[in-house]
Symmetry: C2
Amino acid sequence: MTSQLQIILGRKVREHRLRLGVSQERLAEDLGFHRTYLGSIERGERNLSLASVEQLAARLGVPPLDLLQD
Amino acid sequence: MTSQLQIILGRKVREHRLRLGVSQERLAEDLGFHRTYLGSIERGERNLSLASVEQLAARLGVPPLDLLQD
DNA sequence: TTGTGACTTCTAGTCCGTG
DNA sequence: ACACGGACTAGAAGTCACA
């Protein structure tokens, strides 16, 4: 069951990363998780929990809701 | 690990239900899940996944993001 | 540099019963 | 009418080897 929110989240994270001009590998390391995990989030394959979204947003330094709306 | 988003979600769902003037039991049945599950969501005890939030919002007939912001 | 599949651990999600 | 505990199964969290 792949939701709309997780698609948006993925796109948002990718946009954020490209704006920074860094690789998945690099950003993942900075954020403190594995590169393939970040990759799968960007591809919208991961159905994150609210807590995980919040934590991810915090590490990215953006408000959680920014990751969930276009 | 209890996130801010799940607290907000709980409050929002409860407000929505009270606005309808129905019991947890009643609403849960209408939405198609168990009454104790709805109760724990309202209490902010549930760390829902994005797919679950979306599904819940759909059943309530509100936009998903409405459940995540004050 | 990123994608994919397999894999393990942990928790979300569902439901019972009781107060 | 609502809260809470336990128990159980599905799915999230996170890593790794290989392409």
